[in-house]
Symmetry: C2
Subunit: 319 residues, 2 copies
C-alpha cells in the first residue's frame, strides 16, 4: 500500500450515489454526491459517477490506486457484475465495474452495500478490533453484512448475510422477496411505520394520532421513537417488539454462525437507545450458546459513509 496514494470508494443508493477519495487511514479527502434515480436509466448513472470520478482525480492531481463500488443487490464476484439489485429493478448482469473503469488507469471492483457498510464499521467504526461480527442496517429493509476473520464473508453462493429475510417477524406480511414473515417486514423503519399505522387503526395510539395529524396523517419510525422516549405506552410497545424481533435474529446468528458481536446501523439506528435492551433480551432468549457477557451490540459510527468507507477499504485491500 502506497502511503501517498488514495482510493475511490463509491456507494450507489436508490436516490443518490456518493463517490469519495479516501486515504489509507480512512480519511475522506473529497466527497461528491450525484443523482442516481432508478427511473433515469443505467447510462446516465454511469455518466454521473464517471464525471464525479474525473472531478476527484483532477482535484487529487493523480489517479486513485483502485476503486470499489458498493451497491445494493446480488454481486456476481466471479464476473465482477451486479446480477440484480432491488434499487434498480431492470438490472440483470450489469457490468458496472467495467463500465465505470473503462479508459481509466485503475481497477474497479464491486461489493454489496450492506457488506461494505459492515467492513467499513470494522475498519474505522463501531466494530474496530472485532474480527467476527454481523451488521444490521435498519432502513426501508433490514440489510445484513457479515465479517469473519476480519474479511467480508460472501458465502458459497455469494449471498450470505441476508438477515432481513430470516423469518423472525411475528406478523404474516408478504415481503418484497415473495416470502412471508421476513424480519424486515416489521423490524425495519418501514416496519415500525407499518406497526404505527396498525395502532392508529385500533382505538389506541392517541399520542401518535395527535402527532401524525400535525404531519398530514403521515407516520414514520422517527415519530414512534420520539413518542416512545416521551413515555407513550403504545410507541414503547412498538419499539420493544421491534427490538425483540431483531434480537431473535441475532440469537439465530449466534446459534448458526457462532457470532456474539453485532453492529446496528441505518436510519433507525437513531433509535438504538430504545432498541438495545429488547434486542439483547431477544438474543439471549433465543440462543442458549449466548451469555450476557459475550453479547455485544453497538451502534454504528460511520452513518451514511459506512458503505463508502467499506468500499474504499475493499479497494485498498486489492492494492
Amino acid at each position: 500500500m502506497i502511503e501517498a496514494g488514495y482510493v475511490i470508494g463509491a456507494d450507489i443508493g436508490g436516490g443518490s450515489a456518493r463517490v469519495a477519495a479516501v486515504g489509507p487511514d480512512g480519511v475522506i479527502a473529497r466527497k461528491i454526491k450525484v443523482a442516481s434515480n432508478p427511473e433515469q436509466g443505467y447510462k446516465p448513472l454511469v455518466a454521473n459517477v464517471r464525471a464525479a470520478m474525473d472531478k476527484i482525480m483532477a482535484a487529487q492531481k493523480a489517479p486513485p490506486l483502485a476503486m470499489c463500488v458498493a451497491c445494493a443487490g446480488a454481486v456476481d464476484f466471479s464476473r465482477n457484475m451486479i446480477a440484480s439489485s432491488p434499487n434498480f429493478p431492470g438490472w440483470r448482469d450489469v457490468p458496472l465495474a467495467e463500465d465505470l473503469g473503462r479508459g481509466r488507469p485503475f481497477a474497479v471492483s464491486l461489493e454489496n452495500d450492506a457488506n461494505a457498510a459492515a467492513y467499513g464499521e470494522g475498519w474505522i467504526g463501531a466494530a474496530t478490533g472485532w474480527e467476527d461480527f454481523a451488521m444490521l442496517t435498519l432502513g426501508t429493509g433490514v440489510g445484513g453484512g457479515i465479517v469473519l476473520g476480519g474479511a467480508v464473508y460472501h458465502g458459497f453462493n455469494g449471498m450470505a448475510g441476508e438477515i432481513g429475510h430470516l423469518p423472525f417477524s411475528a406478523a404474516d406480511i408478504l415481503c418484497g422477496c415473495g416470502r412471508r414473515g421476513c424480519l424486515e417486514t416489521t423490524a425495519s423503519a418501514s416496519g415500525v411505520a407499518r406497526r404505527a399505522v396498525e395502532t392508529l387503526a385500533t382505538k389506541g395510539g392517541q399520542a401518535l394520532r395527535r402527532v401524525s395529524r400535525g404531519q398530514s396523517g403521515r407516520v414514520d419510525a422517527k415519530m414512534v421513537a420520539e413518542l416512545a422516549r416521551k413515555g407513550d405506552a403504545e410507541c414503547r410497545r412498538i419499539m420493544r417488539e421491534t427490538g425483540m424481533e431483531l434480537g431473535q435474529a441475532l440469537g439465530a446468528l449466534t446459534l448458526s454462525m457462532g457470532l456474539t458481536r453485532f453492529v446496528i446501523g441505518g436510519g433507525m439506528a437513531g433509535a438504538f437507545d430504545l432498541l438495545k435492551a429488547p434486542m439483547r433480551k431477544g438474543a439471549l432468549a433465543r440462543a442458549y450458546t449466548l451469555d450476557a457477557r459475550s453479547l455485544k451490540i453497538s451502534v454504528a459510527k460511520l452513518g451514511d459513509d459506512a458503505g463508502l468507507l467499506g468500499a474504499a477499504r475493499v479497494a485498498l485491500d486489492k492494492v
Copy 2:
C-alpha cells in the same frame, strides 16, 4: 503425513464409545467399542477408552501419529477441554484430551461430535468434494456441523452449527436448552415419535395404533416412516411436516451463511426418501437466494462411523 502411519479416531456417545485405528486413506484398520455409561462416572470411561487405545497400539505394533476424540457438547478449544456435554451432565471443564493422552507418546485433540461427523462426510462420505456445507444429524436431537472452505467451522464462540436450536418448530414445546420452538423438539427422531403420540391421542392414526399395539404401545420414528411408505395419510403428514421444518432451517442457513449444500445423517436419515422432497420444498420456500439447481441435499454415507472418521481426519490434519 506419513503414509505408513495411522491415527486414532474416537467417538464418545452417551451409550458407548468407539475407538479406531484409521489410515491416511480413511480405512478403519481396527475398531473397538467400549461402554460409556454416563452414570458410571468419568474415571471408568477414561480407563475404558485408554484400554482400547492400548489394545489398538499393541495390534498396530506402533503408536498412532495423533488422536482426536469426538464428543457431544461444548469444546473449549483454547484449553483442549470439554466445557460441558449433554450426554454427561456432570462434566464441567473436563480435561478429557489430557487424561486420555497422559503417558502416551502422541497428542490428543478434541472435536464436537456433530462437527466431526460433518468433517468425516466431507472427507470420504456424502460431501466429498464439497468445501462448504452443513450436516444435520437427526437422532434424539438435531445435531449440526458446518464445514467452510474445507475446514470445520467453529465460529467466534466455538459453538457454531447449533442448527437444532433454530426456532423452526411450529409447536411450542420446551426444549432441553430451556427455550421453546427449537427445531429438534419436533424435527428429530424423538420429535417424530412425539408427533405420532399426539396423533394417537386424537381419533386419527388408525394404522399407527394397530402397529404400536403390537409393540406394547410404543411408537417411534421408524414405525412412522414405514407406515408412511405404505401410504398411511397420517404418517405421511408427519414426515412431510418434519421435512418442511428441516427445510426451513436449511433455507435460513442459505440466507445467513450462503450455504446451498447439505448432508442429512443420524438414525432418521433412514427416512431420507420421505424427507427429501419436503425438505427441498421448505428450503426453497424460505430462501429467495436459493434455487432448485444449486440446492443439494444428500444422505450421509458413513453411518455411525462419521464422527469417528471425522475425528481421525482432524488428527491427520495435525500431523
